[in-house]
């Protein structure tokens, strides 16, 4: 594992550092993890494209020494679809936030999952619209006060990983910024997956969110209040691990953060199926020509 100094020199546009992110922001940690995942896999920077929408997490591509495209709000995945289809050899990584992905971008997200486009979507979920000051988002838990829910939020929150699972994603993982090694491993797995991979990372927002005042309070909250799903749970007495995803909907897990690898299966990717489609189209063309 390379040191931070070496990684910064190799992968970051050091003239732009320090980043614009606030003290303790999860985006910085996710940048750290993503670079380590790419480095571990020996992926060439020539073969990387970062796509992002609008929001704090969407500022990440500018810092990385690689091709990057910072697009319009909610549409990152649509841009990424065009990029991946026309050059399937590229490693396309999408940085997005909970507002960008689950509000304005929800349709494009679910459609790309449905098509099994081979992109890796990293969602920095801080349960708010951080860049604009802390408005409520589709993942803000019910009851929370935010700038646009001054009388408490009355809307229920999405679980983005479950949405991805329901839409058919072959790889879905959900962690917090405190789970450093698990995030790195999941990003690696996602990059190696042929189809759509989704890594949701619950993150702090020390400035815009009202939940905690200090970054380290978020860190402790993430370390203590998570419950982990694992299909390999053997130890029945572990209070913080569970095997059956249906248990997520019982009262025990309200207020807890569910983490784990939610889905890990094989499924033919869009590109594989398109290759076969091209074969069929050629067959038919020449058959018709012969007539």
């Amino acid at each position: 594992m390379r040191s931070s100094t070496e990684l910064r020199q190799k992968y970051l546009r050091e003239e732009l550092l320090p980043t614009l992110f606030c003290s303790g922001c999860g985006n910085g940690q996710i940048l750290n993890y993503t670079i380590r995942a790419i480095d571990d896999l020996n992926i060439s920077q020539d073969n990387l494209v970062f796509v992002s929408g609008i929001g704090c997490s969407s500022r990440l591509p500018a810092y990385i020494e690689a091709d990057g495209i910072h697009t319009t709000h909610g549409r990152a995945i649509a841009f990424a679809t065009g990029i991946k289809i026309t050059n399937p050899d590229l490693n396309v990584i999408v940085f997005t936030g909970d507002g960008d992905l689950a509000a304005i971008g929800l349709n494009h997200f679910l459609q790309a999952v449905r098509r099994n486009i081979g992109i890796t979507v990293i969602c920095v979920n801080n349960e708010t619209y951080g860049m604009t000051g802390g408005q409520l988002s589709p993942t803000t838990p019910v009851g929370y006060p935010t700038i646009t829910s001054p009388y408490q939020n009355i809307e229920f929150a999405f679980n983005l990983s479950f949405l991805a699972k329901a839409a058919g994603a072959p790889y879905v993982a959900r962690w917090t910024t405190a789970n450093s090694r698990q995030v790195i491993n999941s990003i690696k797995k996602g990059l190696q997956k042929k189809g759509f991979s989704f890594i949701e990372i619950i993150s702090p927002c020390p400035v815009s969110k009202k939940q905690f005042k200090n970054p380290k309070d978020y860190l402790n909250f993430f370390l203590n209040e998570t419950v982990r799903y694992s299909s390999n749970v053997n130890n029945e007495t572990s209070a913080r691990m569970f095997k059956d995803l249906n248990e997520c909907f019982t009262g025990d897990y309200l207020g807890k953060i569910i983490i784990g690898e939610i889905v890990d299966v094989e499924k033919p990717s869009f590109h594989e199926l398109y290759k076969q489609l091209k074969e069929r189209s050629l067959n038919e063309f020449w058959k018709n020509k012969a007539k």
């Binding site: 549409r75 679809t81 189209s281």
Partner: protein
């Protein structure tokens, strides 16, 4: 299995084809190999044909996206893989695409957007022609920006202008809007499909500078032009793109008024400086004309009939057809306004290009208009009445 060439795919060479088909053939001849679209009357056939033809060609991909917004997003993304890309829609979809058109302008991404106009506003009359998107093509998206818009008036011209649209997009790194309308899209006329070797294709300005000195938005390096060299994703040059105001390294630079002004003015200048190259129009019977009828697209066909009828009757009427709508050909308008007594602007809307004609003729001559909406193509007899100085039907002051 052998992949056919475009020539093998597009046989026979002489066809009785629709406007939409001609656009597809033109795009394939221009080497468009990625299309993303969404079904909408009257542009759906373009999507359907692309879905049929593109997979057959080498590295050709076509996808039906979930809406028009993502269709345009996908083609902008794919353009950065050195693909020539296109999408096609009509009024309601064109309205949805505006944000990403601004994005294509800001990132100087070449792409072709076909807008087969139909009667609006809103859902309007889906199967009827109109010319209501003329101003929207220029100003639909927010902020200061510049686009090119072309508008053919025959099936054959549909094919050639589609090729020209791709060439202009690549040459000037700008989204090009190819306007059409419900009538031309679905009418059939004789179409001659050229061999691809007879089609001239422009190229994007390639990146040739040393990797260490590469700045994505620097201009004037390979050639003295205001168009920056265009990289592609997946090579040793790293390009960052953003919709934010950016410097020549493409890093966000939102705090500097100077950088912003320099950037946005360059968007204007790279097109405006090259008006001679970009603008096309057709003139007939102009030399001694006292009245000039101006039109474009489908309404220009009946306008020409009216002008020719008028000439037979000895009236000194001329005909000017705009082929490039934007940038607007104000030089010819100004020039003519000093020689004639009146322009008559024939449009299938309640006056859109009319305002530009008025702006550039000033008080030099009168500017009258003939508007026909509801899907009614302007009738030559009605236009004649206007030419003969008939009663003004209704004056909309806006």
């Amino acid at each position: 299995m052998q992949v056919p060439t475009v020539d093998e795919l597009l046989e026979p060479k002489l066809q009785f084809a629709t406007g939409n088909e001609a656009i597809v053939y033109g795009a394939l001849l221009a080497n468009c190999r990625f299309f993303a679209g969404y079904p909408i009357t009257p542009a759906t056939e373009i999507l359907e044909l692309m879905m049929k033809y593109l997979p057959i060609l080498k590295e050709g991909y076509c996808i039906q996206m979930e809406d028009e917004i993502s269709s345009l997003a996908a083609i902008i993304g794919a353009s950065w893989n050195n693909y020539r890309t296109m999408t096609a829609t009509s009024g309601p979809g064109f309205s949805l695409m505006q944000e990403n058109i601004g994005y294509a302008c800001m990132t100087e991404t070449p792409c072709v957007i076909v807008d087969v106009q139909r009667s609006g506003p809103s859902t309007g009359q889906p199967t009827k022609a109109a010319q209501g998107d003329i101003m929207q093509a220029r100003w639909g998206t927010h902020g200061d920006h510049y686009i090119i818009a072309l508008y053919p008036n025959s099936i054959q011209e549909n094919l050639w202008l589609t090729i020209r649209a791709f060439n202009l997009a690549d040459k000037y790194r700008v989204p090009v809007i190819l306007l059409s309308d419900a009538v031309i899209a679905h009418s059939r006329e004789k179409l001659v499909i050229p061999f691809q070797k007879n089609v001239e294709l422009a190229k994007r300005v390639p990146v040739t500078i040393d990797r260490e000195k590469y700045h994505p938005f620097r201009t004037g390096y390979t050639q003295s032009t205001k168009v920056p060299e265009m990289d592609k994703f997946g090579d040793e040059y790293y390009t960052h793109l953003t919709g934010l105001t950016h410097d020549i390294k493409a890093y966000p630079a939102t705090e500097s008024a100077e950088i912003h002004e320099k950037l946005v003015r360059r968007f204007y200048e790279k097109i405006a400086d090259n008006r001679q190259d970009i603008i096309r129009f057709e003139q007939k019977y102009i030399e001694d004309a006292e009245i000039v009828v101006i039109s474009y697209g489908i309404s220009s066909r009946t306008a020409l009939m009216a002008v020719e009828e008028a000439r037979k009757k000895g009236l000194k009427v001329g005909y000017l057809r705009l082929i490039t709508i934007w940038p607007f050909p104000h030089d010819i308008i100004y020039e003519l306004s000093n020689k004639i007594s009146k322009f008559i602007v024939v449009e299938m809307n309640l006056g859109q290009i009319y305002h530009k004609i008025k702006e550039h003729s000033g008080s030099n001559c009168e500017v009258d208009r003939f508007n026909s909406i509801g899907g009614k193509i302007p009738h030559p007899k009605e236009i004649m009445k206007k030419i003969k100085g008939g009663p003004i039907k209704d004056e909309i002051i806006d």
